[in-house]
Symmetry: C2
Subunit: 302 residues, 2 copies
DNA sequence: CAATTCGTTGCATCAAGCGTAATAATGGCT
DNA sequence: AGCCATTATTACGCTTGATGCAACGAATTG
């Protein structure tokens, strides 16, 4: 038995003091109303109405139940209504995960502008260079810089290419390297989200060269890695925007520019939504617009 | 679709973070759980969970709905539980209708004793000599003194016989009447709940006599009628307990004692309950016990 | 790599809800 | 006073919707 419908029917009868009138309001038959009410009475083991064929009156138990349950039903419907209207409008809080290096450079401006445009959306940002489990950690969106994702349980959207270059400290012995064969495992510092080793697959116009970096040192933080390079500890494969300043100030230099690593992308990851909630879509669109048009990421690449 | 069951299922899944675990708890299949949740999602037009085959996680909309709706469901169930337990125990308020004359004599003591025995039951007494519509006026119980009831829409219970006698003022010309034929219409004062006329059907051992009283005066209040009789205004057919004092003080006398009117009864009327609520049954039983055993109505008849 | 577990979906079965209509009761209206 | 309309209930078929089973794709564990 549909208990909820029974209670709604009961309330209609209680208000209208008539089974027939309730049936008309609910666009059903008196038979249905009668069954619903007597079903509820059996379920609650209480007589709710005193009835003759011409009069219907609440028992005191019925009156007290009606008074008790009516606001509950109203609240129930209100909750459904709230959820429905909330999901359609861009309101609420979104949890965003972002990588440290990229986040520190791009997010301050972006979040300020976003807050101006969408004052109804609260944003909470967790910056980390680990690969988070979007689902388990309850993120609405994760910003990552990575190669093609192999995770089938998330959906993602490429925003733009992130140029990576091989760098070494100016004037160091590493800066003189001009052939991939000169790259020794101990000289290659690893950049890996899990702090493990990193495979470098370098392609020139005609050849390719593969080696494992990070045997002696690796980190999940690009800025730390850049500082290690500056200190002459070795060579790293880093997004250009991270080392932009150091390049400009000539503290580090690009090596082997004709050998290119595989493309990696600035990518947005979402939990496997059937369709994106409005507030997440708002942030997502704003992010893409901001990064590609308004204050393009290339700002960091030049 | 049973919306309530869907919400309950949703809450189980939300709590256990698993469709399969929820199915086990609810003693059903995962298929049923899956359908219930996706049905609710369609109904609310919101995605409640983000799911892969190995992980289930609430969306923020789902989390907010769960937080919102869980106390509502709890309240809903609590209301049902309250009603159920309330109806079984003798608690609450009962509305009683009682006639004036009888009520003034019997109720003060009775209600005091009842209050001692059932402190949980609040009693509200309306004293009136009109015939009230028990159902429309929302009484739980009506005490009446009347002949056999013709109302099919109430249930009733005879408590005891109420002896009625014909009375006249001592020393008046009416006191000398010794044959029914001497009763003139103008001398017979009516006692009628509706303030109308009253049919007297008198029976002796061998004969019967019928006449209409109340042509010149009638009332629905026995005490008023008794005072009219004392004042020598005529003859009335009254319950003995009303005129007990006046008889004892010899202000009025019984006439035609061998001619008896039809029996009338002290009767309890109830709304057409399928079965009597505990609190009403408690009052009803107490009333009967009190009137017939402890302080019998015959106290007023002797 | 095999095996298990998970959520979803198609399919066949079945029960529950529905409207119709008949019934008894009751109040209004003429 | 009696006819008529309206009311709540109940029995009867039918249809719709729910349910359980099984197969499937996906993903983790050993």
């Amino acid at each position: 038995m549909d208990e909820l419908k029974a209670v709604r029917t009961f309330l209609a009868v209680a208000e209208l003091q008539s089974f027939a009138a309730a049936a008309r309001r609910l666009s059903t038959t008196t038979a249905s109303v009668s069954r619903a009410v007597s079903g509820l009475e059996k379920h609650l083991d209480v007589q709710l109405f005193v009835r003759t064929t011409r009069q219907v009156s609440l028992t005191s138990a019925g009156a007290s139940y009606a008074a008790r349950i009516a606001p509950v039903i109203e609240d129930f419907d209100q909750a459904a209504h709230d959820i429905r209207s909330q999901s359609g409008s861009a309101l609420g809080r979104i949890h965003v995960s972002a990588p440290m290096s990229m986040g520190m450079r791009v997010l301050p401006d972006l979040l300020s502008d976003f807050g101006d445009e969408f004052p109804g959306i609260e944003v909470s940002v967790t910056m980390t260079d680990e690969f988070v489990d979007i689902i388990k950690e309850n993120y609405d969106l994760a910003i990552r810089i990575s190669g093609p994702p192999d995770d089938k349980s998330t959906i993602w959207r490429k925003i733009c290419l992130v140029e990576r270059i091989l760098v070494a400290a100016s004037g160091s012995r590493f800066a003189k390297i001009d052939t991939p064969n000169a790259l020794t495992a101990s000289a290659c510092l690893g950049y890996d989200a899990n702090g493990g080793e990193e495979i470098w697959e370098l392609r020139s116009a005609t050849a390719k060269h593969s080696l494992t970096a990070g045997r002696t040192f690796s980190t999940n933080n690009g800025d730390l890695l850049a500082r290690m390079v500056e200190n002459g500890k070795g060579i790293a494969l880093l997004p250009r925007f991270i080392v932009k300043d150091a390049l400009a100030k000539n503290r580090i230099v690009q090596i082997l520019p004709e050998w290119r690593p595989p493309d990696i992308w600035l990518t947005l990851y979402y939990p496997p939504y059937e369709r994106l909630p409005a507030k997440v879509a708002a942030f997502s669109d704003f992010f893409e617009r901001h990064v590609t048009d308004i204050k393009p990421l290339s700002t960091f690449l030049d």
